[in-house]
C-alpha cells in the first residue's frame, strides 16, 4: 500500500484503510459536488467527492473548465491559479458562474508564495484549479492534497499532479464545422478518459461534444462510430 503512504503521512497510520473513505471534513457541508450530467459517467458516484485531487491533462483547458462548471453552477465558489490566458467567455459558456469565480493569474514566482496562495484558497473556496508554474515536488503535492482533504475542497490540477486521486484526459479530438472557408467551428467530438486510485481505479470512457455548438458540453451517443460522423461533416458543408 505504498500509494496510501503517498496520499498523506497521517493516513498511513490507519494501516490498510482506504485513505479517502473518511475525509476529515472541516466545518462545511459534507455533500458531494455535482458535475455536469454529460461528465457524470466518468465518476463512479456521478458526482465529485469533496476532498479529492483531480489532474487534467494539460492540453485540455476546456475539460478542466467543464469539470469546474458543474460545482460552480450549483453554487460552489471556484478559483483558478496561474492561468493568465484563460478564455473567460468559454468558461461562462460551459456553465461556470462568473460571480463566484476568482482568478489569481500569477501568484508570485517563488515556490513558497505559490504554495501559500493555493493553501489559502483551499481554506475558503470549494474548488481550486491550479496550473503549476513548474513541476510540484512530491512533498509539496502531498501537503496541498492533504489540505484539500482536510478543508473538504477539491484540488484540480491542469497538468501532471503526483498522487492525484482521479486523472482525466482527452483523445481523438475532432472538430466539425469549417470546410475550406465555409462554415465555422461548431463543435468538437472527443473521448474523455478517467482513471485513478482507490474508488476511481476502474477506467471509464465517455464520448463528448466538448464544446458543442452552443459552447456547452453534451454527451455524444457512444454507439455512433466514425462513419456516421463523416456523413455529418458532408451535410454541414
Amino acid at each position: 500500500m505504498s500509494s496510501v503512504a503517498m496520499v498523506a503521512p497521517a493516513a498511513s497510520a490507519a494501516s490498510g484503510a482506504p485513505p479517502l473513505r473518511t475525509p476529515q471534513l472541516g466545518p462545511r457541508a459534507q455533500d458531494d459536488l455535482p458535475v455536469l450530467p454529460a461528465l457524470a459517467p466518468l465518476l463512479p458516484t456521478g458526482s465529485l467527492r469533496r476532498g479529492v485531487t483531480v489532474s487534467v491533462a494539460a492540453a485540455s483547458t476546456s475539460l478542466a473548465l467543464a469539470v469546474l462548471a458543474g460545482p460552480s453552477a450549483a453554487g460552489a465558489w471556484c478559483a483558478l491559479v496561474g492561468m493568465p490566458a484563460l478564455g473567460v467567455r468559454a468558461a461562462a459558456e460551459l456553465g461556470v458562474a462568473l460571480e463566484r469565480f476568482a482568478l489569481v493569474p500569477a501568484a508570485g514566482p517563488g515556490n513558497a508564495q505559490w504554495s501559500t496562495a493555493v493553501a489559502a484558497l483551499l481554506d475558503g473556496m470549494d474548488v481550486v484549479a491550479v496550473r503549476p508554474p513548474r513541476r510540484v515536488a512530491g512533498g509539496e503535492a502531498r501537503r496541498l492534497a492533504a489540505r484539500a482533504r482536510e478543508r473538504a475542497a477539491v484540488l484540480l490540477c491542469l497538468g501532471e499532479w503526483e498522487g492525484a486521486d482521479l486523472r482525466l484526459s482527452v483523445s481523438d479530438g475532432q472538430w466539425i464545422g469549417p470546410d475550406a472557408g465555409v462554415g465555422r467551428l461548431r463543435g468538437r467530438r472527443i473521448r474523455a478518459h478517467a482513471t485513478g486510485r482507490g474508488g476511481f481505479s476502474r477506467p471509464r470512457d465517455v464520448e463528448l461534444w466538448l464544446p458543442g455548438s452552443d459552447g456547452r458540453v453534451h454527451s455524444a451517443a457512444p454507439v455512433e462510430e466514425r462513419a456516421p460522423l463523416s456523413v455529418v461533416l458532408g451535410a454541414v458543408s
Binding site: 462545511r28 492540453a59 485540455s60 483547458t61 476546456s62 473548465l65 453554487g75 460552489a76 465558489w77 478559483a79 493568465p84 490566458a85 484563460l86 478564455g87 473567460v88 467567455r89 468559454a90 468558461a91 461562462a92 459558456e93 462568473l98 460571480e99 463566484r100 469565480f101 476568482a102 482568478l103 489569481v104 493569474p105 500569477a106 501568484a107 508570485g108 508564495q113 501559500t116 496562495a117 489559502a120 484558497l121 481554506d123 475558503g124 473556496m125 470549494d126 479530438g173 475532432q174 472538430w175 464545422g177 469549417p178 470546410d179 475550406a180 472557408g181 465555409v182 462554415g183 465555422r184 467551428l185 461548431r186 463543435g187 468538437r188 464544446p211 458543442g212 455548438s213 452552443d214 459552447g215
Partner: protein, 525 residues
C-alpha cells in the same frame, strides 16, 4: 406626540449622477443623459426627462422614448468625488454636516438659522450654494434645500418644494406632512415591497402600526424605518454613546497617496470595524472617517445612513471619501501630503442583531468564507492579484471579457448585451493569449496568404508555422471575416480579419490578420 425630531436642513442636488458626469466633462450640459445602474435608469437629465425618460426604466425603453439619449454607467466614486466641493462649500457656512449619499447632505437647522436670521434666510443662501462651488461654477449647479423636523421630511420637502417659500415644514408638522407620501420615499426597496404586499401604501398607514409589532416582524431595520415614517429621526430610544474602543484605526507606512492603495487598506479596516461592532451586537448609523496626513492635517467627514451600515457599505463610503480627498486637487482643504493614518469612529450605534425580511436567508456563509480567503491572497500579493471576470461587449476575444480586482464593482465598460456584429459566435476559445503570437500562414506552395481590401482571401491556407515552431498542415479552415471598427475615427479605427484554422493535429486556432501580418489570438483547446 411629545417626542420631536431635531429641526434639520437637507441640501439636495437633483440628478446628481448626471451633474457629476457633466462636472467631470463626460457629457455637455443640456444633453439628454441617463445614468444606468443594473440595467435600469438611476437618474436622467432634464432634457431626457422632458422626452419621457423616467427613473427605473429599462435601457431599451429609455432609448425608445429618447433616441438621442446618451447612456452612462453608474460611478459612485465619481459622484462622491465631485460632491466633495459642494460639501466643502456648505461647510464654509454651517457646521455639523452629515453626508447621506453623494448629492444629499443634512445638518441641524437651529444654529445656522439663528445666525443667518431665520429659516427662510438660511434656505435662501443654501439654494444659491451651487453657484459658489468653484469646480462646477461654469454652469450654475441646481441645489435645493428644505427644512423640517427629521431628515426624511426635510428630504421630501427639498425634493417636492416648488420654490424657497414652500420648502419649510412647520415645527411639529412632519408626521402629517409625510403621511400622504408613498412608502417608497423610505428608499428601502426590500422593506417597501413587503409593506405593499401587506396593503400598506402610504407612510401614514405604516406609521399607524404599533411600533413593537413592527420591531417584532421587521427587526431593528424595520423599527428605524417606522420611526422615520412617524417623522422622527432614525435615532431609536436606546441610543448609546459609543465607547471609545469601538473606533478602529490603521497606520500607513509609508504614507499613501494613491486612492487604490488606500482603498484596499480601508476595506480591511471596514471589515474589522464592522466585526468589532457585530461582536457587541451593535449596528452603526453614523460614521466619521478621519484621515491624518504626514503634515499633521486632519480631515474628517461624517457619513449617515438610513439603515444600519453593512461592512460593504462602510468600505464603499471610506473609498469614496478617500477618493474625494486624494483626487480632489485645487480645493483649499485638499491634503498636502500622503495619508498616514485612517480612523473610523462610530458616531451613533444601535442594538442590532440582524434583521429578517424574507423568510429564507441568503447563503451568506459560503460567500463570507470565500471572501476571507480571497482577501487573504490579496493581502499577500496585492489587490490586483485576485481578479474576478465580467463579460463585456466587443468584437475581439481579448476585449469580450474584463477582469476587475476582487471586491470592486463588477461593471463592464461595454455592454455585453448589445449585438456587436462581427464577433465570433459560440463556442468560444478556452485559451485567449494575453499577447498574440506571430504566425506564418501560407498556402500549400508556401506562398503567404493575404486578404484583399474587399475581404477575399488570395489562396486556400495550407500550412501554418507559429513563431519558430514546426510547420503544421491546415486541415480545414473557415473565414475570412473582416471587421472594420470605428472607421470614422482615425485614432481608434481598427481593421482586422478573423480566420479559424484546424491543423492536422486536431488543434483549432483563431487567427487574426492585422497590419499585414497574421497572429494567433486564441486556441480552442
Amino acid at each position: 406626540m411629545s417626542e420631536r425630531a431635531v429641526r434639520t436642513v437637507v441640501v439636495w442636488c437633483p440628478d446628481w449622477p448626471v451633474a457629476a458626469a457633466i462636472a467631470e466633462g463626460e457629457v455637455r450640459a443640456g444633453a439628454s443623459v441617463a445614468v444606468l445602474a443594473k440595467g435600469r435608469v438611476l437618474a436622467c437629465s432634464a432634457a431626457a426627462r422632458a422626452a419621457g425618460v423616467r427613473r427605473g426604466l429599462r435601457r431599451r425603453e429609455a432609448q425608445g422614448r429618447c433616441p438621442d439619449l446618451f447612456v452612462l454607467a453608474h460611478h459612485p466614486e465619481q459622484e462622491a468625488r465631485c460632491f466633495e466641493p459642494v460639501v466643502a462649500a456648505v461647510e464654509q457656512m454651517c457646521s455639523g454636516i452629515e453626508v447621506i449619499r453623494p448629492g444629499l447632505l443634512a445638518l441641524p437647522a437651529r444654529g445656522p438659522a439663528r445666525y443667518y436670521g431665520g429659516e427662510p434666510a438660511l434656505l435662501d443662501r443654501l439654494w444659491r450654494i451651487g453657484a459658489m462651488v468653484p469646480a462646477l461654477s461654469g454652469d450654475a449647479l441646481p441645489c435645493r434645500a428644505g427644512i423640517a423636523d427629521g431628515i426624511l421630511a426635510a428630504t421630501v420637502i427639498a425634493r417636492t418644494a416648488a420654490g424657497i417659500e414652500d420648502a419649510i415644514v412647520p415645527p411639529g408638522g412632519s408626521a402629517d406632512f409625510l403621511a400622504v407620501h408613498p412608502v417608497d420615499v423610505l428608499g428601502q426597496p426590500e422593506l417597501t415591497t413587503v409593506l405593499r404586499r401587506l396593503g400598506i401604501r402610504t407612510l401614514g398607514a405604516f406609521a399607524e402600526l404599533p411600533a413593537d409589532d413592527v420591531l417584532a416582524r421587521f427587526g431593528s431595520e424595520g423599527a428605524v424605518a417606522h420611526r422615520r415614517a412617524r417623522g422622527l429621526d432614525a435615532k431609536p430610544l436606546a441610543t448609546r454613546r459609543p465607547e471609545p474602543e469601538l473606533a478602529v484605526k490603521t497606520l500607513f507606512d509609508p504614507p499613501v497617496e494613491r486612492v487604490d492603495t488606500a482603498a484596499f487598506a480601508a476595506r480591511a479596516l471596514a471589515v474589522r470595524f464592522h466585526e468589532s461592532l457585530a461582536d457587541r451586537a451593535l449596528g452603526c448609523l453614523r460614521l466619521s472617517i478621519v484621515a491624518r496626513t504626514e503634515h499633521g492635517e486632519e480631515l474628517c467627514r461624517c457619513w449617515r445612513h438610513d439603515g444600519v451600515l453593512s461592512a460593504a457599505a462602510i468600505s464603499d463610503r471610506v473609498r469614496w471619501q478617500l477618493d474625494g480627498w486624494l483626487t480632489h486637487a485645487g480645493a483649499g482643504d485638499a491634503p498636502t501630503s500622503g495619508i498616514l493614518e485612517l480612523e473610523l469612529i462610530p458616531e451613533q450605534v444601535i442594538p442590532h442583531s440582524g434583521h429578517q425580511l424574507g423568510l429564507w436567508g441568503g447563503a451568506g456563509e459560503a460567500e463570507d468564507r470565500a471572501d476571507r480567503a480571497l482577501t487573504r491572497v490579496q493581502g499577500l500579493f496585492g489587490p490586483d492579484a485576485v481578479l474576478t471576470p465580467v463579460l463585456a461587449g466587443g468584437r475581439h476575444s481579448r476585449v469580450r471579457t474584463q477582469l476587475v480586482p476582487w471586491g470592486e464593482p463588477r461593471i463592464p465598460d461595454r455592454d455585453p448585451d448589445e449585438p456587436w456584429p462581427g464577433h465570433i459566435p459560440a463556442p468560444s476559445a478556452a485559451t485567449v493569449l494575453p499577447a498574440p503570437q506571430p504566425v506564418q500562414l501560407t498556402d500549400a506552395a508556401d506562398v503567404p496568404i493575404e486578404v484583399t481590401g474587399r475581404g477575399v482571401i488570395t489562396a486556400d491556407p495550407g500550412r501554418l508555422r507559429i513563431g519558430a515552431g514546426p510547420v503544421e498542415d491546415v486541415e480545414s479552415w473557415a473565414g475570412p471575416w473582416p471587421v472594420k471598427e470605428r472607421w470614422w475615427d482615425p485614432k481608434a479605427a481598427r481593421r482586422r480579419v478573423h480566420l479559424q484554422a484546424v491543423t492536422a493535429s486536431g488543434t483549432a486556432r483563431l487567427l487574426v490578420l492585422e497590419r499585414g501580418s497574421w497572429w494567433v489570438e486564441a486556441v480552442y483547446d
